[in-house]
């Protein structure tokens, strides 16, 4: 999603006959030409990213919780889709991507006012503005849904809804604007192709704080909290993995070589992450677990996210290996050392992965791929800029999440009662249960 998309003229040319010429109203005259190829790819990419949340993340998460919390965990992903979509159309898109103030956008596209058949967003001039809006909507949805994994098994559903609204407005929308919508982080030169900061680190940092504010699950460290059905999580991983082609590939905002380079690096990082995590477990715990391999794949995917589109394919393998090592360490040693109960390791996988990926983008950025040189091409300054992005995102997401949970707590208890927690969230929050 680099600020303005770089297009490979060679790919676009063959499709020029098929493009829809814009016989625009005077207000939009001469601004752009909508490409049928770009539009077709971005429609697919939008569908892929929506699929990542539902059913991808819903399966991935619910397979890792206990049987009594499976439906409640799915409900969080489902609610994120429904709720955030409406909020995005109402004002989120406009505040994030319309207007280029350093802090926040404008309300000019409030409820999509002024969006027409021919309007485009300056960030993606070859696809309809409505498509750009929808594509970005799917990112907002999955980011909010990701946070929920850290407080799985114990957050009250009503509190989750209130928290999600606040977190979307105060954390996601500003960050998306700062990095991608013309805000100060993008202007400072921070590279975040598809959401290492905006999606993964923000969700991870928010998740970590939320897990600490809510406290550990009842029975954490003493009772058996083993997953209900890891086969669901494996299916979810598959959907996330394929969906990520749309997440990172679509962030090129065009059907071009850069999109395919991003997809290649993404796939390789997932493979390297899965192998690395499995190998580490094999060495330390004597068996490579399925949960370990899927965790490694998702860690690789999250970590390559900001770098894809800026790095060469083989960098994806290196980044995937680093992701497998670092995220394994975060989910085991780090979590034990500081005794927080990040139930589904949102911080360990997404937070640490996103952070690592942002920094590795600063290391491996390749001018011939994304137009920017990183450390290995003799530009150490980029690493400092990336570090700046990490610092701002970490501080903002953590701080706002903390304040927001305290605020939500004024209106409704954030955590369910002990009795409800022991009974399970499915029955206590939704009145349903798996038999």
């Amino acid at each position: 999603m680099g600020a303005l998309s770089f297009r490979a003229a060679t790919l676009a040319a063959p499709f020029s006959l098929a493009t829809i010429s814009v016989l625009a109203t005077p207000a939009f005259a001469g601004t752009s030409e909508i490409s049928a190829a770009d539009t077709a790819w971005m429609i697919v990419a939008t569908a892929l990213v929506l699929m990542m949340t539902l059913p991808g993340l819903a399966l991935f998460y619910s397979g890792m919780v206990r049987k009594k919390n499976v439906l409640a965990t799915m409900a969080q992903s489902l609610a994120a889709v429904a709720l955030i979509s409406i909020l995005w159309v109402a004002f989120g898109y406009s505040l994030a991507f319309v207007g280029d103030g350093p802090w926040i956008g404008t309300l000019d596209r409030w409820f999509l006012t002024g969006m027409t058949m021919v309007s485009v967003n300056p960030a993606a001039k070859t696809i309809p503005e409505s498509l750009f809006m929808l594509y970005q909507m799917t990112f907002a949805i999955i980011t909010v849904a990701l946070v929920a994994g850290s407080v799985a098994d114990r957050m009250r559903f009503s509190a989750y809804l209130l928290f999600s609204i606040g977190w979307f407005v105060l954390v996601y929308v500003p960050l998306a604007h700062w990095v991608w919508g013309g805000g100060f982080l993008g202007a400072a030169g921070v590279l975040d192709f598809a959401g290492g900061l905006v999606v993964h680190l923000s969700a991870g940092a928010g998740g970590l704080v939320a897990a600490m504010v809510l406290g550990r699950r009842h029975g954490y460290g003493t009772e058996n909290l083993s997953p209900f059905d890891l086969s669901l999580a494996v299916m979810g991983t598959g959907l996330l993995w394929v969906g990520w082609f749309g997440f990172n590939g679509g962030s090129a905002l065009a059907a071009n070589s850069r999109a395919v380079m991003a997809i290649t690096a993404t796939h390789l990082a997932a493979c390297a992450g899965a192998l690395t995590w499995g190998a580490v477990e094999w060495a330390i715990q004597r068996k490579p677990s399925v949960l370990g391999m899927i965790s490694g794949a998702v860690a690789g995917l999250g970590t390559i996210t900001p770098a894809s589109g800026f790095v060469a394919p083989w960098h994806g393998i290196v980044i995937g290996v680093v992701a497998g090592l670092v995220c394994f360490w975060a989910c085991t040693w780090l979590k034990r050392r500081f005794e927080y109960d990040d139930s589904l390791d949102v911080f360990g996988v997404h937070g640490v992965g996103g952070m690592t990926g942002i920094l590795l983008a600063g290391v491996f950025a390749t001018a011939s791929i994304g137009g920017t040189s990183g450390l290995i091409e003799g530009n150490p300054h980029l690493l400092l800029i990336q570090l700046y992005g990490v610092g701002v995102t970490l501080a903002w997401s953590a701080g706002i999440t903390y304040a927001l949970l305290k605020l939500v707590g004024v209106f409704v208890p954030v955590r369910v009662s002990l009795r409800q927690e022991m009974e399970g969230l499915d029955i206590s929050q939704h009145g349903e249960a798996l038999q």
Binding site: L225, S226, Q285, S289, S295, C331, T332, W333
Partner: protein
């Protein structure tokens, strides 16, 4: 009449069924159960978190047979369910006071 209850490893069901059929036992009830004996449980590790699983999945087979073939039934269950590894299971035999086939109303040995 005797009720033979056997707790066996799940993957041994087919062998046990075939062995019982071979000696003329033509009905059984199978239930999926969990439990432990000397085998105790095992340890599972999820992202570094270790959990001891005390209850392991087993199958519980119930057959009702006439007293004269009860010993033979126990013998073939034991031989067909045996792996020699810990956790092979147990067999219990108890007397049956009364039996009735619901469809026909036949009782006791006629109902088996």
């Amino acid at each position: 009449m005797k009720l033979v209850v056997a707790i066996i490893k799940p993957f041994k069901l087919d062998e046990v069924r075939q062995a019982l059929t071979a000696i003329g036992v033509h009905g059984m009830t199978v239930t999926e159960v969990k439990g432990y004996g000397r085998q105790k449980g095992h340890t599972e590790i999820y992202r570094g978190a270790e959990y001891v699983v005390n209850f392991l999945p087993k199958l519980r087979i119930e057959i009702a047979v006439s007293a004269d073939i009860a010993d033979k039934a126990v013998e073939v269950i034991a031989s067909s369910a045996r792996t020699g590894q810990i956790g092979d299971g147990k067999i219990f035999v108890t007397p049956i006071d009364h039996a009735l086939r619901i469809r026909t109303g036949e009782t006791d040995s006629d109902a088996l």
